[in-house]
């Protein structure tokens, strides 16, 4: 499939550099999945998100307002300038109406800017920074599955209450890491904890966390928190084991941990980790049914919360286009904010004025190896956090001009 696309691209190149400028045509509704296909975030979203989006289009019937729905995808390699180039090209020459998924907060922010200026929808399921519904909000931007505030609130407050009142951060040095560190710091301090120190590691590209872990060890903080994600978190936790952080009495906090990460780590290493998540495949019959269908298309790998989010958000988008009778961005977003979301992913989910999709989150703990009955049976649900409690309240002070 990829080879065919590559051949097609080469032909375009040979035919002489460039498509003619085109107006946005209304003959097709195009959804562009932009994510990391080969780097540290390839497993938690990657091709799985593309599969989820395709499932949604198929389940919806493949057409909306009588026009076919097409899906394109691209690898942004976690670089904002590469992503900008792709999105500009998508909008200007390929009639893409929605840019979806988009992990990596620095990229998401760049995409938000472009879609705001060119009046297209940014349907973000995977990036984390709460700035997307704060100072960088957009009238056509929607932040679907989770954000740094929800994670910080869930995990941070819980761990402090359990006795972890001094924290040391190992942070990925870009928008996401900074946002996660900032929100968690606020939550920790609000619960009367202290911050013992913080260190930033380059992103992407760091595979050896030893020098940062050594500093965390030296700080003697009760909790060593990883404000990073994907392969970075996996490597950090594994290497923490190599250096004996846990046996030395410190507790590890993975602030953003996906099901795919726990799968890579293995329960022996990951057991006991407290995680805040927006979806778990084994929560109830409805989630199990959908996840089984997804797993069959995804090499028997169960969905992460963001992949489920891509399905749900795509479905909601298609419904909104039909309801709005147009694919013009602002009209569709108005409908998306008007209609509630009731599916396996969220019950009574609602998209607020600032673009934040509010739904119940879950506090889970990774099971011990003997407690698990099979692959991907990894979490026990500690409690459900109601949406209004989990997410940041909508107030003008957080910087979004859409909030009165």
């Amino acid at each position: 499939m990829k080879a065919v696309k590559l051949m097609a691209a080469m032909c375009a190149l040979a035919a002489g550099m460039g498509a003619a400028q085109a107006q946005v045509s209304d003959d097709v509704v195009k959804i562009g999945i932009l994510n990391d296909l080969s780097g540290p975030y390839a497993d938690l979203a990657g091709m799985g998100s593309v599969i989820a989006a395709r499932m949604a289009v198929e389940d919806y019937g493949g057409k909306v307002l009588g026009k076919t729905v097409e899906i394109v995808f691209a690898d942004h390699q976690n670089k904002p300038d590469i992503a900008s180039n792709i999105v500009n090209q998508w909008i200007d020459t390929e009639k893409v109406d929605v840019v979806s998924d988009v992990p990596t907060s620095s990229v998401a922010l760049a995409v938000q800017e472009i879609t705001k200026n060119k009046n297209r929808i940014h349907l973000n399921s995977t990036a984390a920074s709460s700035d997307l519904t704060g100072s960088k909000c957009s009238p056509t931007g929607i932040h679907y599955t989770y954000d740094t505030y929800a994670l910080a609130n869930g995990t941070g407050t819980t761990l402090v209450k359990e006795g972890g009142d001094s924290w040391y951060f190992i942070t990925a040095d870009y928008a996401f890491g900074h946002a996660l560190e900032k929100d968690t710091t606020a939550a920790v301090k609000a619960a009367n904890g202290k911050i013992a120190g913080t260190v930033r590691h380059p992103f992407p590209g760091t595979t050896d966390f030893s020098s940062f872990l050594l500093q965390a060890q030296g700080s003697q903080a009760k909790v060593v928190a990883f404000a990073n994600a994907g392969a970075d978190t996996i490597n950090s936790i594994k290497q923490a084991g190599e250096f004996g952080l846990v046996s030395g009495g410190q507790r590890l906090a993975g602030l953003l941990v996906f099901l795919s990460d726990v799968h890579s780590l293995g329960l022996k290493v990951a057991q006991g980790l407290v995680v805040t998540t927006g979806f778990y495949w084994d929560q109830n019959d409805e989630t199990r049914a959908w996840s089984k269908k997804f797993g069959e298309k995804n090499n028997n790998r169960m969905p992460t919360m963001v992949q489920a989010g891509v399905y749900s958000s795509t479905m909601h988008y298609l419904k909104a286009v039909d309801a709005a009778k147009t694919d013009e961005a602002k009209a569709v977003v108005a409908k998306m904010k008007e209609m509630p979301i009731n599916d396996f992913f969220a019950k009574n989910g609602k998209i607020r004025e600032d673009g934040r999709m509010v739904h119940d989150m879950m506090l889970v703990q990774v099971k011990k190896p003997e407690e698990s009955k099979g692959p991907y049976d990894y979490y026990k649900i500690l409690r459900v956090i109601p949406g209004d409690e989990a997410f940041r309240p909508m107030k003008a002070e957080f910087g979004c001009p859409l909030v009165k």
């Binding site: 300038d81 040095d173 870009y174």
Partner: protein
């Protein structure tokens, strides 16, 4: 007589290209064209150093990328207009060129290349850490502003002509430099440095001046790039990008006038069309590098020139394509 004819031929070619460039945005994707112009200016500036002075700088991205940051910062944070921002970017390129050139110019050949590479890498790490560059996020949402307070650069067509205009100016400047007495001295230094020194020319100073001219124009290209794409990121100070400008020049034809422009357009095309495929861009570029080095050392334009001109003329008139680089004796173990 034949010189006149070929000069007329060249002028006609340039006129044709200019007309094509003026009409192009109505046929091709303007974003692609603007990217190509920025790269072309960068490659021409680089070629000044490689093809005419014989110095291979492997860290040239530092000047382009750093200027992009400076221009972005001055446009976004200081609110300066686009002309001022680009000028500041050019100045940044000049100052940085003076510093790096000052250290590196004492050495030649491979050593010069290695030193520029390492110093550029130092700058990369500086850009990674410095707060004003915002590290991995880069400077985003750079405003294009109003040119001279009058022309709204947010209009795609206006921006296109602005970029084209700056490119043409830069190109002409390079041409003037090459064909001036200064350019002749550079040529002499490249052909036989000891002799030039014996004639009383301070070779190092001339080389440094050429270096600074090159880096200043690279800075203009970088600043222009930042305004066009409204983002300044680490990619543009990374050594892979330094390698890309070498590729553009090599592919197009080192030491030819239009070679770098052709090379830049091709490399921009590869980036644009294979962007969604990530790793294939690198693989493709690597293959082209290898092919050029093993088989097409004269580059595309170089090969065309060799085909069009009778054999004797080709040797006499075209600039020597393999730079004569001097090397100190190999050091022992």
């Amino acid at each position: 007589m034949t010189n006149r004819a070929s000069a007329n031929g060249t002028t006609a070619l340039y006129a044709l290209l200019l007309v094509a460039a003026l009409a192009a945005p109505f046929f091709l994707y303007p974003n692609f064209l603007m990217r190509a112009y920025c790269f072309a200016l960068f490659a021409c500036a680089f070629n000044l150093l490689l093809g005419y002075v014989g110095l291979l700088s492997f860290g040239h991205a530092a000047f382009f990328g750093f200027a992009a940051y400076v221009t972005g910062h001055s446009a976004k944070i200081w609110g300066l207009g686009p002309e001022l921002s680009v000028i500041l970017g050019a100045l940044a390129g000049a100052v940085l060129g003076l510093v790096i050139g000052g250290i590196a110019i004492r050495r030649q050949g491979i050593y010069f290349a290695m030193i520029t590479l390492a110093l550029a890498q130092m700058l990369y790490f500086f850009c990674l850490q410095a707060p004003f560059t915002h590290g991995e996020d880069g400077i985003q949402a750079i405003p294009r502003g109003y040119l001279l307070g009058m022309f709204d650069l947010n209009n795609g067509l206006t921006m296109y002509y602005f970029v084209l205009g700056v490119f043409v100016l830069g190109f002409l400047l390079i041409q003037r430099t090459i064909h001036s007495p200064f350019g002749q001295i550079l040529k002499a230094i490249r052909e036989n440095e000891p002799r030039a020194i014996s004639l009383g020319y301070n070779a190092d100073r001339y080389k440094l001046l050429a270096f600074v001219i090159s880096t200043t124009l690279s800075g203009v290209a970088g600043g222009l790039f930042a305004l066009t794409f409204q983002i300044a990121a680490l990619n543009n100070v990374h050594w892979h990008f330094s390698g890309e400008v070498v590729l553009m020049t090599l592919l197009g034809g080192m030491g030819t006038v239009l070679g770098p422009v052709v090379g830049a357009f091709l490399v921009a095309a590869i980036q644009q069309y294979l962007a969604a495929f990530g790793a294939w861009v690198s693989i493709f570029q690597g293959i082209i590098f290898v092919a050029c080095v093993l088989l097409f050392r004269r580059g595309i334009v170089g090969e065309i020139i060799a085909l069009l001109r009778p054999r004797g003329k080709a040797e006499a008139e075209t600039v020597s394509v393999t730079p004569q680089v001097h090397e100190p004796a190999r050091q022992g173990v």
